[in-house]
Symmetry: C2
Subunit: 346 residues, 2 copies
């Protein structure tokens, strides 16, 4: 009987020795494979318990080429990450599903540089640290798909794919709904000239949402002004807002690509002495809990970020296991009317 080395953590052989069986018997028991007698199973389980043993992730990974971890790499700068909770909400959705399945989430936050991002994925893949990755923030001409294919790293994308789905994609149903409702809401309030402040052009959803916006605006024969924030920062949103508000015919309502930009927009409007919603109506996107706390409470397009994260996690793991996906429904984006929108001044 192999004595357990002092100081070392117990291994499968320690368990086997204590239970008086072979290591393969232990392996079978803990993995529910092969056939084992009930009495043996109990003895093994007892020993496992007594020794507080868990299989070494490294050994299992080495042997079975599965790490039970999935990766995520974010190219957002730390500042942006702390500014906009969008990413954290997604992560909590993902973890909500991953945790019960005993999967870990390996996070890499790299700088803005594309090169750092590539390196992060390569390490994840080549060092075999994760079984797959979840991609967010789909980009136009996204290089990650090629990279991941070369690395043979399974992936799932949350969001709008750049072109034909290169990897399984997770999106809410009725994509157009929320934004369309928002435009209708503004039109019905009597707005005739509305602006849309979108994020950087390299995001696929930027163009996608802008199209939805324009189409909805056309249906209501609204005149539109399109602005692009150079990034998702408060400064970017403020600059775009300033631009819109210095127009000769300035819009009476502005929609933003996310809630934080909307807040920055409201702040910028105020600096110009404008009242929201008196002089300017504002609509956000995401429906962060925060929106209900500020003054005026933010009208916004609610997005089921947690649902998106959950389904992405489930989809990826199902894909890895070759099992069918059994995922909860994601709520469609929908308008949440609060106080930052009102009829324009006559």
């Amino acid at each position: 009987m192999a004595a357990r080395r002092a100081g070392g953590r117990p291994t499968i052989s320690d368990v086997a020795a204590l239970a008086g069986v072979s290591v393969s018997a232990v392996s079978k028991v803990v993995n529910n494979k092969g056939s084992i007698a009930e009495s043996t199973r109990r003895r093994v389980l007892d020993a496992v318990d007594k020794l507080q043993w868990s299989p070494s992730a490294a050994a299992v990974a080495l042997r079975s080429a599965r790490t039970r971890a999935i990766g995520m790499v974010s190219r957002r700068s730390p500042d942006l990450l702390s500014f906009d909770p969008h990413f954290s909400v997604l992560i909590s959705g993902i973890e909500r599903e991953l945790a019960p399945m005993d999967y870990g989430l390996l996070l890499h936050i790299v700088g803005e540089e594309e090169d750092a991002e590539r390196r992060a994925y390569r390490r994840l893949a080549e060092e075999r640290r994760v079984d797959g990755v979840i991609l967010t923030e789909s980009l136009v001409r996204d290089v990650r798909f090629d990279l991941l294919r070369r690395l043979r790293l399974p992936a799932v994308l949350i969001g709008t794919p750049w072109r034909d789905d290169p990897v399984p994609t997770v999106r809410a149903p009725e994509q157009e709904r929320g934004l369309t409702e928002a435009v209708e809401h503004l039109a019905s309030l009597g707005h005739r000239r509305v602006a849309y402040v979108c994020g950087p052009e390299d995001r696929v959803h930027t163009g996608f949402r802008r199209r939805i916006f324009e189409e909805a605006a056309r249906r209501h024969t609204l005149s539109t002004v399109l602005l692009t924030a150079s990034d998702f920062t408060a400064e970017g949103a403020a600059a775009a807002t300033d631009e819109a508000l210095s127009l000769d015919e300035r819009p009476t309502a502005v929609l933003y690509a996310n809630d934080m930009m909307a807040l920055a927009g409201i702040s910028a409007a105020r600096r110009r002495g404008l009242d929201v919603p008196g002089d300017l109506s504002v609509v956000g996107y995401d429906d962060l809990p925060l929106g209900a706390l500020v003054q005026p409470r933010l009208t916004t397009v609610g997005q089921d970020l947690v649902g998106l994260g959950r389904v992405a996690a489930l989809t990826l793991v199902a894909e890895l296991d070759g099992a069918p996906v059994d995922a909860p429904a994601i709520s469609p984006p929908r308008l949440v009317v609060r106080e930052s929108t009102a009829a324009p001044r006559a």
Copy 2:
């Protein structure tokens, strides 16, 4: 010469074969150990490059008992996580240091249940998934220290330790400063009756900060009212605020344990028809970027969350490597005066 199996990823033997050397030579080259001839080194490096090979993390971990990953487990509910960016900011600080050192961050978000948390740590340790963990949110009678000692999992704590430092602790210098400045600021504005809304009692910093508050208030002979929010949610903060404001002698200023609670407090005050800062001054804690965007812009105690995260990461890795810590300085908490504080109405 061992042929590289089609479909499989290259292994160290493929590299060795291509370079015409032994695997141990390759190992020595990539790890800068032992002595190798310059010419051999070049051939190996060439082969590594040609094959795009990286060592398998699992194999390295199995062999050397080091995973180059550190873990973090958060007991916050997903809702709370999305509500308060505090945690994300810490993470971005941590990642900022971890990434360049080629360390990964394995995240586990477990529910509120203490048991899930224990399991998460146990898995991290027993499965040898990480080399150490970073702890946040120090609790009174924190059970994690015992647990981690038993698991022999190195750890670093960000925050105020519950008792004598059980593990290395990372804190900002001049802990008392920010909150003390805030009280002084209110006193100098003419406030005589101020409230402090703290978070749940199980957090160590709750009592710690309350003591700072009380002491500062005493020095300025302010009368105080102490409230406890049952949790860090908007509802908790709102309820505590309501309680304070329904007092016969209601405070003219309220300080909150964090910015999000302060925002919820302002919102609650407004629901009672109170103007901030006209009828009530409000002070937050953390100085999230958000605070500069809301109306009124939030006076708050700034905390160097990113610095805390960075130093924690550096400290833990240094500890693991048995190397001395060379960490950047963390800024002390300091008051950031904006617009949510003003002289009380006469």
